[in-house]
């Protein structure tokens, strides 16, 4: 990637800055220098790491939470920018297209009724079913128009959310509580084990997107033109949608439903660096990680309670969507 301006660099390092700040802010006061010292000591053991309480707080509690938030941010924002590109529609994200609702049903089923079925796999299967349904219903005569796509996403999301409600209604009350809390979207259960699962799944999902990102430019020209330019549209749509669905499903399985990130972050980054996916994709991923870490730090510290971060993103996301709609006017809804 060409580093055209310092702002590219700033966006790329923003997750690390946000992570650093997130670690030293919290109920237990840790100094910013202590954070660097402990992490440096862990990476390069010859500095020696004294066994102090800060060490446990930083390494066992706050660091995995920050990394998990960062990974989920990468997944949501990376798939958001991908879906916006292939559907040439700036108003979609994994949440709007139903992936999140589908994955949530998979998770709820796994938690409620089929504990032997791995939660991540269930999330992926149902997330993929949801997005494939949205895509096939919205696709008419070889093109996926903007408004029908969003409406179909709303319908499919509503359907899967209703299915989740059935699970909630039938499941035994002890499990109900954990499903309800988890659905709100939160990183409060973060530990190194979740980081490992999320890391493997999310990287497997976003890596193909990262490698093939430049092709999103041609794909955003529409199906016929992309074909004429030499893109195997069918095959590459499957790869992009499958990869997005994998990353998002894994994210949902570790953190619940966190909406709007995949819509807001790519938009803001596009406003700053332009639409070329060659730089837009990595910068959106970095921006998504930073935003997620930042939102989670707010969620932890705004009140004495650990508010689910999904509530914070929804509160910021809805007005943002309205703003885009009003500003874009006919252009964003067209066709």
């Amino acid at each position: 990637m060409k580093t055209k301006s310092p702002i590219y660099l700033l966006i790329l390092i923003s997750p690390f800055l946000a992570g650093w700040i997130a670690i030293f802010i919290g109920a237990y006061n840790v100094s910013p220098f202590m954070v660097l010292k402990v992490i440096a000591g862990e990476i390069a053991p010859f500095f020696g790491n004294p066994d102090i309480p800060e060490r446990a707080i930083i390494l066992d509690i706050r660091l995995p939470r920050v990394i998990l938030a960062g990974l989920v941010g990468i997944a949501l924002s990376g798939s958001g920018v991908t879906l916006q590109g292939i559907f040439r529609n700036p108003l979609v994200d994994p949440f709007i297209l139903g992936i999140s609702a589908g994955a949530a049903l998979g998770c709820a089923l796994s938690v409620g009724f089929f504990p032997e079925a791995p939660i991540q796999i269930m999330a992926f299967i149902f997330g993929t079913i949801a997005v494939v349904l949205t895509y096939t219903v919205a696709r008419t005569q070889g093109e996926v128009s903007r408004l029908p796509l969003i409406l179909t996403g709303v319908i499919i999301s509503a359907f899967f959310t209703a299915m989740v409600s059935i699970v909630k209604f039938l499941v035994d009350p002890h499990k109900l509580q954990s499903i309800v809390f988890w659905l709100m979207g939160s990183f409060s259960l973060a530990d190194w084990n979740l980081v490992k699962i999320a890391g493997a799944g999310i990287i497997a999902g976003v890596l193909p997107i990262f490698l093939m990102r430049w092709r999103l430019n041609a794909m955003s020209m529409g199906e016929d033109e992309a074909k004429a330019l030499g893109v195997n549209v069918k095959r590459e749509r499957i790869i992009f949608i499958g990869a997005s669905s994998l990353a998002v499903s894994i994210a949902v399985s570790v953190s619940g439903i966190i909406g709007w990130v995949g819509l807001m972050v790519p938009h803001l980054v596009r406003m700053i660096v332009g639409p070329d996916h060659k730089s837009l994709v990595p910068l959106s991923m970095a921006g998504g990680a930073a935003f997620m870490i930042f939102a989670d730090t707010l969620a932890r510290n705004l009140t004495a309670l650990d508010i689910p971060v999904g509530i914070i993103t929804a509160i910021t996301g809805a007005p943002f969507f309205i703003y885009l709609m009003k500003k874009g006017g006919k252009e964003s809804w067209g066709r």
Binding site: N217, A218, A228, L229, G230
Partner: protein, 258 residues
Amino acid sequence: MLEVKGLQFRHHHGEDDILKGIAFGANMGQITTILGPNGSGKTTVFKCIAGLWKPQRGEILFGNKNISNLPCEKRAKMLAIVPQEHEPSFAYSVLDAVLMGRVSHVGVFSSPSKYDYLKAEEAIETVGIAHLKEKAYTKISGGERQLVLIARALAQEAPILLLDEPTSHLDFRNQLLVLGKVRGIAREKELTVLMTLHDPNLAMLFSDKAVMINEGHIVSNGVPQSVITEDNLRKVYGINVSIINWNGARVIYPRIDS
């Protein structure tokens, strides 16, 4: 030489054949224009050659090689298309838009190399829009955007160039400008250019060969002077025209009877 042989096409649930055995050839370094009224099958011929629709029968040969069944990656290296209706998506810069023509040359998991950038810049230079390079291609005039799409097709480095009604959204000046550019490029790069046009006057001015189509048949095929005649135009379009010779130019003049 591009050869179209015995092209037959009908839609999936269609009753009648839209193309009933279309055959013609197009030469290297020349412009071949397909003329015909709305609904004549002109666009269908175009889509079949472009590989977007599959004809039931017939083949498309280029240099005696059948190119009708190539996978799209390979087809894109043989055949570049300038679409008629282009709905801009995101506000890419002109350079980024032209660079998309390199997709078939860049590996699936890679990004364009310096060489690809060079080729894109060369194409921009060729159509003469270097001054627009950094501008958003959504915020330039229709004529300029048409040139961007032509540059994108040139960056594809395919020997065949297809243009679908390249003048339909352009004003009087831009129509001449764009077609003049296309003719110059066809000569210079020895491309086989095939395009569809509505205006017989423009076809007369800019083509080396004309193919007139009506109701899925070829009506006439050859040099423009022998194809675009008073008789053929009356037969195909059902209007009376006079062709006036003036200073060596042939002007088609519709006779409006009141």
